[in-house]
Amino acid sequence: MRKIGGPSLTGHVGSETSVCAYERLRDGRRESYQPEENVVRTDPQQPHGSRIDLYVDRYADRARSMIASEIRALFAVAARPEIVSFAGGSPNVAALPLDVIGNMASQLIAGHGSVALQYCPAHGDPGLREKICEVMALEGVHAHPDDVVVTVGSQQALDLITRIFINPGDVVLAEAPSYVGALGAFAAYQAEVLHVPMDASGLIPEALDGAIARLAAAGQRAKFLYTVPNFHNPAGVTLAADRRRRILDICSAAGLLVVEDNPYGLLGFEGEPMRALCADDPDGVVYLGSFSKTFASGVRVGWAVAPPAVRDKLVLAAESAVLCQSNLAQLLVREYLCTQPWREQIKIFRELYQQRRDAMIDSLEALMPAGCQWRRPGGGFYVWMRLPAGLDAKAMLPRAVSSRVAYVPGTGFYADGQGAQHMRLSYCLPEPDRIREGVRRLAGVIEAEIDLRDTFGSGGMHGTVGVDTPGPEVP
């Protein structure tokens, strides 16, 4: 008889001696189950059941939150074409000239395969690092290629920065709300996250000052400030130009490193790109960049720009994490930047996303019930919407999905349980008509939820645990 589970069973479940004759299928003949012969009562010889997981008592503390989640299950449905999904953050890669890129890739492998398919230094391809500096110049950054470390997406850069700076229990300052990928990295290293408020102009300098002071009063000190200054994910806001110097001064005075995460800086719909924070304080800022939104997310190429000492540690950390990044992916990106009109492609993306932003904002204005609030984003992918008082975006998600529309509840973007009254709506992927249809469905769901609130008073989801946000593959 096949045993279930592992060492904790002590061989009693399914053993011949302690249970009766069970159903057996042999050559089509069957003996019937005779439960009256079941001798298992409060069997002192069966102290432990099966937990299925053989390693249940061996996981690290940081694995505790890795559990199956109801919310995550709903995102599995959201990926279906029948649902209008505002849940994902997938860029619109179909807008790329795929045939051209295909030819590029095939020539790269056929002509330079012995290099492209081989290991490379963890620092990253030197030619690519030069091109990265060219890209960053658009935001006023004048970095040296040696200061750039290529990473597997900027997510890896986030992970490595956290790895080299954070001991369990160390404090990280982040905006309220903050990027879920960052919160995940901080949680993986058991950091304590303190959220600092934002408004229409981004992170509030006085609030940052106050947070630093409160920590100092408690004898604590944050290791770094994590900020997404342009077209924030999920909040959609951009740090105003006149606040940037002030934020840098506050951090410099407190000896606080700034981690500037900038995937959307070149995706503004009006005006020129903002000047990056690291352009004005290269020694005090680690800049994280990405080709996911300006070229393609699937190639997994991002980077960090850091002062030399930090950069050296990042290279060593990258080596121990991945040996090296994909040389094939790096050379593909380098080739793309060298031979293709990448600035024009970014312009094509911008126009596409602007059209979708307009469809979303226009539909929200036309259809959302009273009490909903949002800001118009000037770029990027997201609208951050606040629901009427007493509504809970997480509790509402199952009803939304059964009404064939999806979003990400705001709770996923906070480490401290805030966010239930907010939701993130991403407009980057669906066609404008689908956006309008999705907003129509969402309005119906919110109206029904207002009705439920009026009937019962405010309610929340009881006892739900686990990850509140979708994986990257959800559209």
């Binding site: 279930i4 299928l25 199956a68 439920l452 019962f456």
Partner: protein
């Protein structure tokens, strides 16, 4: 192994249990393939009917959980296509999937079930939630257990220990359905009994006792390996074990089910068995109880899936 042609395992669907269903379906499909059966997994979407018409399968194994999978909708369509399938027919599913209906039929068949009330959300809206909830507590007492009348995987379901918790529990329940089933909470041993019928009548499998960390068998407890402890067979008396087995078989028969089902029960301290619900497409994931019970009974999982499909083919439908 009996020669079985091309079969489809239906998995996915659009209910909140889609993820669970995909895991169930893949496990069934893998087990069939390991037994040499030509099986693939397909979803219940717009590609299903064309696929069946283009290459009619010998039989279908439905593994879709929740609405459309367990309420009979997809099976009714399979019936229109004259495709044999494993499990209960559509009309039986409709009764089994509606928990209050299943409870009514169970009582008619002589089974015990917790006292309960079933109400749509409109009633709370129209008659005033506070007044209705007060009457419910006055009649059923506390603690209570609230769940959507149609659903699974404990989504929207949970215990309510104080009257103050009840409104939030109702809101959480109505997130997953328009009708709520509110039951008196029965304290006891939570037990799942699978039933398999391979032609000689429904036979109960060994009862599986479910002991979740934190005491509530919610979604996380069901689908995160390690969060729940299972005892197979359940640590109940011989008399209770027999009563549980009989209850599961009676539920299966009185609801007109076929081939396979899983009945969820509570055995209280007086060894009384309370019927909670019955499932026509039981979970088949790594943490699901029916495969555990099959293993305890000495069956190969793939063998049983294969034999049920063969039976469906022989039945013709």
């Amino acid at each position: 192994m009996t020669d079985l042609g091309h079969v489809l395992v239906l998995a996915g669907g659009l209910s909140p249990e889609r993820d669970v269903s995909l895991r169930s379906g893949h496990r069934v499909c893998d087990a069939l393939r390991e037994n040499g059966v030509d099986a693939i997994t397909v979803d219940a979407d717009s590609a299903l009917i064309p696929a069946i018409l283009a290459d009619p399968p010998d039989a279908v194994f439905p593994a879709i959980h929740g609405v459309s999978g367990e309420d009979g909708a997809v099976r009714a369509v399979l019936g229109l296509l004259d495709v044999p399938f494993v499990g209960a027919i559509a009309s039986a599913c409709r009764f089994a999937f509606d928990k209050p209906d299943a409870k009514t039929l169970a009582v008619a068949a002589g089974l015990r079930t917790p006292e309960s009330i079933t109400l749509p959300r409109e009633t709370f809206h129209d008659l005033g939630a506070a007044a209705v909830l007060e009457r419910i507590v006055a009649r059923l007492g506390l603690p209570l257990f609230v769940k959507p009348s149609r659903g699974g995987s404990a989504l929207g379901a949970g215990p309510v220990r104080t009257a103050a918790e009840l409104p939030a529990a109702m809101v959480g329940c109505f997130a997953y359905g328009d009708t709520a089933l509110i039951e008196r909470y029965v304290t006891g041993t939570e037990v799942a009994v699978g039933v398999i019928d391979l032609g000689d009548g429904p036979q109960a499998l060994p009862a599986v006792e479910i002991v979740p960390d934190g005491g509530v068998y919610d979604y996380a407890a069901r689908y995160t390996a390690g969060r729940t402890e299972f005892y197979t067979p359940a640590r109940i008396s011989a008399a209770a074990a027999k009563a549980a087995a009989d209850t599961a078989v009676t539920a299966h028969t009185s609801l007109g089910l076929r081939d396979i089902s899983r009945t969820d029960l509570i055995v209280d301290e007086a060894d009384t068995v309370f019927f909670l619900e019955v499932n026509v497409a039981p979970g088949m994931t790594e943490t699901s109880t029916l495969p555990m019970a099959l293993a305890a009974a000495g069956h190969g999982f793939g063998t049983i899936c294969h034999d049920l499909l063969v039976q469906a083919v022989q039945r013709g439908d």
